[in-house]
Point group: C5
Chain length 377, copies 5
């Protein structure tokens, strides 16, 4: 396993991605590149990675577990032995020819291949009789707090699962692989449908980490919006809204996908797996509930922000008004006794000056009392 | 019953909880701790309590009622005598091993055990043929006005009910226990389904207390928002919104759960109990109606707050404008007669000073009249 | 009929109610009083009246009509003669024992009796095979413009109807009683289902009066909000919103109730009555339409209010700005010539003073022209 | 045709209506007048017209077309000849006795007659086996830009159609009548269902004129709201919202009515007519789409208005701030040199005055530069 | 192909359109022109083009491909040879007679012809047994950033497709024509249903280009709204909202159309095509998702705009307040020592003037410190 060879490109790729993520996530990817092409033409739509495509094959059964990693596609896979489960994991979709070759080998539908390399798919389930095609979305948190979406395609047959990852964020299925290797749990004794479940479960589990982080960011914003609202706060709220939209686009169709699997609309799903699928289904519903709750909270936050601003404005205006109301009359009094009329009796009084000062103090005291009573002070 | 032994931990636990509640309730709990574990692994997710787990067994029938409290789990329970109803109430979920042991004894599904100790479940009903698994949410008001949510799991068999409480807020089922002891009502003559109904009913009844309090807090806010709006008001509104979201998350799925029970989708629910279930169902709908109504009211409150602020701003600005409009012209007049031109005839008039004062009075009277007519005064 | 005996308590009760209504209507009533009681326990929830309970019995058929009023419940009612229709109207629900006694006599379901005295029910229809239980909400306008909600329960059997009113606002069914007495219309020739229809129809008809009044209040507010917006306006809008919420809670479930009756889900509803029920159903839909329309209008009103406030603020600020912009430069000029420099040539000019005055006039004219062009004047 | 006799009352009626329309359209009409009346009692609810009721009979078939206009109702209509289609058009509903007489003649259901004269109906379709009762709403634009709603009832039998118009705005069915007279199109060769279709189509076609006008008014408002927002603008937006609500109330139920007709739920609708009904159905959907789009636009308009106001406020405040920031320091400087201290060296400088003027110019230039850099100028 | 002959009119037409697009797109077109006409009357509703109508005929089969372009309609088309697929593409709908003639030739339903020339249709699918009538909307971006909507009608028979374009924006089907000519992909070997799919697919593909552009414009606005909000920004947001409304009106019904095709409700759709239709269906859903996401984002943008404005207002007011608070006290002090009282001891002090200046500096420093602490500076 060429881990060293992988570090290099990851470094670059990570930099590129971090850059891409500093912008808000896109609602649709540049699909216009496909306009006018006949159906079944494979065009890779998505982030270009410069890592090599990695294909890992894992054959396992009750008592066996064989792993190998291949570079290119020298020959087709044959899933002849029905006692052996095969999991082929393809990481990286940017070499369209390889996917085409793999698809032709297995006799896969060209429309499905087209969808595998076009990473701007909605989560969906398609039944091609001999195999199921499942598209789901994997979420990753980025270092800058953003969310990256990666498309995962699963082709589930009677005794094989082929999974396609974009390969942007390293291997998400490591823990499933570990469980197969270790022979822990039921996974070695169950079929391809259980493996598919395990992979979907790994992806859905990943959602909760992202959702927890979103929840924390909302709580931080809730504090900030009252304590120290700034234009940056609005920008962050709007950014989170965009991410919530992306989450909803990943989650809502996923519910339908897992629901359809659970209802066993295809004979490829065996009865003992449905209870596990119901479990993932429940998790999906919970994730959706959380997303909707976050959405409600965010919608309220901007209103809170606006009212915070209005409050501050009121504070400022109150201050200006108090200052103005105190000094305008005082300045006026000073102005009066600065007039140059010949006959101004007060000016010649012995204590005129001090009387005028007293008058000014009295006026400001009255004003302050008035503000006190109005609760402005 | 070691009441004394319970006081200590309660003190601590209460302090901890009060602390936790001063923050807004979480939308999702720290589920990320479970990522990568195979299905059926028991991980306690929820608030850690340092109280001991308490298991109370109550065997009853038409003419009998036996109670005992056990500490650990020395042996399995056998529900052999179909004439005897057994209710086992487990308070506290943090000792995962005990739950595991209990589940293994009774041959319960591991996925169900996993859900029992993961208190971040949605209310749901699962049918395992021999028993039903019901998750509902109990609400408690906290002293600081917040709402704590506690998960209650019920496993309902033919002649037994096992209830699991988180044990954060003391025993919620005391009154049901009292009714069984006293033999009041029908409860001793009915089966496990009726006991399950009675427990659900106790939980749903508890909602109304919480809802009444929420309603009162909204009424207080409705007064405050017009009479004395402050940033604290907004914070309270937002806080209530969050709690309404938590209430909705507990209530909406509950409706489906009780609806499914009432439709008798499982043979474990007997016909005479459905009329009681319909009654709880009605209560749930009413609670939902109330929550939705509160939501509408809260949404309106922030608008009222904003308009209150705008009103105050108008008041402040009006005041400043009046002060400015009166004193700026007066100061100007005083300024004119403070000029040092050699040839200013008015300065030498005998009554010039008094004439100027008169002019100032006249100007301010005109201004005041103008404001009077404009309804600003 | 002891009308005199009724006047006294009504006076008090009216005062009490008027007081209660000056507060906004509650979303849920104090149901927490019922927590922990076994099902079937009768607890009166609602406004306590100190009037005596009044029971009026009306037996009628094609050619007969007998009325009597009874004080207590000396014996049970028997509805043996299927040719005779019996209508028993109970006004006042606060004597729980009487309702209990009545229910025991007729063998009514205890859960139903519980609901009759708990006036915090949702409108609903329950089918107890031998009789139907219908809960609807009667609306009354209060003198202070508020809306009072009164619960009406109907128990409809093969040849009897028992109606339960809270008895807060006098008899709402007077006109139906009059029609039976007079033998007008079809009412004497039809069965219990038609009587039930007539009673429901009387209640629904009452809605339109309330709705018209709400419509008028909204129209008044629409004027006020633009012409003379004040904090009181917001309070009124919010108050109306609360009432709309109460109306919705009464109306939406009513639709389902009447819809179920019309679909003749119970054999107690005969075919000829369905056309009449469809008529009430249409009325309910219309009332719902109106309530939704009012809701939309009210939602818009607060926005109009806010924009009205902003408008006024603009006016005020414009005025202050104009005053400031005119007098600040003038005062400055006066200040300049009030300086005490030894060498200020203008001061010694013969017409310096008048020139400075002219300058001031010129400056203010230029300012006024500028504002004119900016359309601020 | 007594056109002359009609001019007089129209004059008055028009005046009255114009007056009525200057107020916003009502959500519900004064239905409270009907409270307490037994079902089937005819009460005219709607605008009172003082025009005479006009009944026009049109008998036609493939080769014939006979028209006559009758004043009162001397005898019943018999629709014996199944080869002849009869269309009886009643204009004016305020003479309740005539409608009653007509209904009794034809043996119509009294509830239907009640609905015909109560013009506050929702659009609906009722199937009385021998005839269908259809209520739809006709829209008219008023001269002052408002929208008047007129109820049209159609009774459709096997070989007759009786149409009831309120008769407020002249004959809306003129063009259908013309087509029958001229024998153009298929209308003479088709049955009563096609005539009903043609009448409904005429009404729905009328919607588009009204909708176009509404669209134009919204476009005008969109300009006004940015260019010259005034309180009148808000009033117009709110007025349009009210009209949109009225349009929705007419259109949404209409869709159901035409949908039910198209599904041929009654045998009175023949198969060849369904394609035409589908056409009207499409038009209704389009009208609904347009109304919903207008609603969205209007909802946005008030926000645009508010932001326009805020913008203007910003402009005003900026101006005041600039003026204040320039003249306050200048006046201060002038004030300093207006002080009367004995020992102020500057005052005795030869060029002190000019130096102070220079200082003032410098200060204002610095301020202006500052504003320039802040982009306030 | 008379490309030269086409340039001239395009110039004019383009100018006209560019002019039309500078206004917002209309919600409904001037349909009122059709009021009163019998069904089946052809009236062209839409933009008048002065280009000639262009009819292109393409006959193809597995091994053949014949193209010709005809000017007028000299004779009818016969689609006798079931081995040959015919695609007749009509560009330009303003010559109603030609469409009428074509329709009469082929025996098309007059209602369908009416809809073809009335370009204000909703996307819809109508089944006339022998042929399907499909209406969809093509979107074009205009140079000024606006969106033009063009109606495309498809008549799909067993072995022919007739497509009608408005011909406003040049030929949208060029790439499909190219694929047929080149014989690439499956298109030559499939039937009329596949051609219809290909044409719909071309239209739907076009949506993504438009949507990407809309997304980019929203991103630009998101920057602008925080960085440099101006009234123009609001206008742009509102304009985009209008375009989103137009997009929704085109997309939502399209989903139903393609969904109905995919469910093969007509025998004209063969089984192998459904998988392709499902693909377009997915694309439509994605486009709808994107439109809804954009709608959410836009709704949020105006709020961000308002909060940006409020922020700026706060900045401005803070500045004014600081200036006022510093200079008002200073001017007052200067005023005091400008008073002309005979007995003012300070005036005679040796360092009185400098002491007063020091006092002023001290006052302003205190003020500045105060603002510093209040975080206003």
């Amino acid at each position: 396993m060429k881990r060293t060879g992988r570090v290099g490109p990851t470094g670059d790729g990570g930099a590129k991605r971090a850059h891409g993520a500093s912008r808000a996530p896109k609602i649709i990817k540049e699909r216009s590149r496909k306009i006018g092409l006949p159906p079944g033409t494979l065009v890779h739509i998505g982030e270009k990675s410069d890592r090599e495509i990695r294909i890992r094959v894992l054959d396992y059964g009750r008592d066996r577990c064989e792993e190998k990693e291949i570079k290119g596609l020298q020959e087709c896979f044959y899933f002849a032995d029905t006692q052996v489960m095969s999991w082929i994991d393809v990481e990286g979709l940017h070499e369209v020819e390889l996917i085409q070759q793999l698809g032709d080998c297995q006799g896969f539908n060209p429309l499905m291949l087209e969808d595998i390399v076009n990473t701007d798919q909605r989560p969906k389930l398609e039944d091609f009789d001999d195999y199921l095609y499942i598209v789901i979305k994997m979420l990753h948190e980025l270092d800058n707090g953003g969310i990256a979406v990666e498309q995962v395609s699963l082709v589930v047959g009677a005794n094989f699962v082929i999974s396609f990852q974009e390969g942007l964020e390293g291997d998400a299925f490591g823990q499933v692989r570990e469980r197969i290797r270790g022979g822990k749990g039921k996974i070695r004794t169950m079929g391809a449908d259980f493996l598919a479940y395990a992979l979907i479960d790994a992806v859905v589990d990943g959602y909760f980490g992202v959702l927890e982080r979103v929840g924390e960011r909302i709580e931080v914003l809730e504090e900030e919006v009252v304590a120290a609202p700034s234009p940056e706060t609005v920008r962050r709220i709007h950014r989170l809204k965009r991410e919530i939209i992306v989450l909803r686009k990943a989650l809502w169709p996923l519910r339908e996908v897992i629901g359809a699997l659970e209802r066993r609309e295809s004979p490829l799903i065996s009865e003992p797996v449905t209870i596990y699928l119901r479990d993932v289904y429940d998790h999906t519903i919970q994730a959706i509930d959380a997303v909707e709750a976050y959405r409600d909270l965010l919608a309220g936050l901007l209103d809170v922000y606006l009212s915070s601003l209005s409050n501050r404005m009121n504070e400022i205006m109150k201050f200006l008004t108090i200052i103005g109301t105190i000094f305008l009359p005082l300045t006026f009094i000073a102005g009066v006794y600065g007039m140059n009329f010949r006959n101004m009796p007060e000016l010649n009084w012995q204590w005129g000056y001090f009387a005028s000062l007293l008058l000014m103090v009295a006026v400001s005291l009255v004003m302050l009392l008035y503000f006190k009573r109005k609760k402005w002070l």
